[in-house]
């Protein structure tokens, strides 16, 4: 591999790596939002189940 080819590979590699890191961050965030949604749904269900007994 010539030095020119190494620089081209490095430049395109940086772009690819940044994109992969970005997608990984978004995926982690999505997982957190999914977990929070499930927690809130559970909280809402518990509230609903509790309400007839209170009322």
């Amino acid at each position: 591999m010539s030095s020119g080819e190494k620089y081209v590979a490095a430049a395109y590699g940086v772009v690819l790596l940044t994109l992969l890191v970005y997608v990984a961050i978004i995926a982690a965030k999505l997982a957190r939002l999914e977990r929070e949604t499930a927690e809130l749904a559970e909280l809402a269900r518990r509230r609903e189940a509790k309400q007839p007994a209170d009322g």
Binding site: G4, Y22, L40, L43
Partner: protein, 221 residues
Amino acid sequence: MPALALGAAALMGLAVVFAFFVAPQDADQGISQRIFYFHVPIALTAYACFGWGALKALLLLWRKDERYDLESYVAIHQGTIFGALTLATGSIWAKASWGHWWLWSENQLVLFLVLFLFYSAYFMLRFSIEEGPRRANISAVYALFGVVLIPVSFLAIRLAENVIHPTVFTREGPQMTGTMFLAFCVAWVGITTLAYTLYRVELSGKRLDSNLRDLREALGG
């Protein structure tokens, strides 16, 4: 949104094919010139993102609609990512072509760095203020100030007298062959579509996060 993401991925793949297999080898710079097909569109996308962020900031100040604050923030965040990529790919290309990672004497490079650092400081300012209308307004004013740097940075290369940085687009048109210009256009469309997809994904995530926070408060969880 999945269609948009698929389109962006397909266009990016096509851009790589055009950059490596369709565009001819540059007689002067050799293979290192192929960095141009991603470096320049990434830089133009960074400018577009900062400009979009400033436009949304203007709309926030004008219409007083909170949703523009988040849109402006996400656009500037995208611009900073693409700005960092511009500096990284440009530096690699500079090393390959000029033998230097960075030249402080080059106005184009220094002005782009100033623009990048200006918008990086936007996040420090934004997160040092408590969430609310005050933060949104101050962030919007700051984003609007930065937009002045975009034409200055873009025109610096044309106004400077002693430059090493190549000027590919002149008043006579693009200084490259038709196939090279086609490869550049494909890469530009691909990267712009990618940036727009990432903008939409990040914006949806932020809105969802905000809605969940409101819901948690309403449920007292």
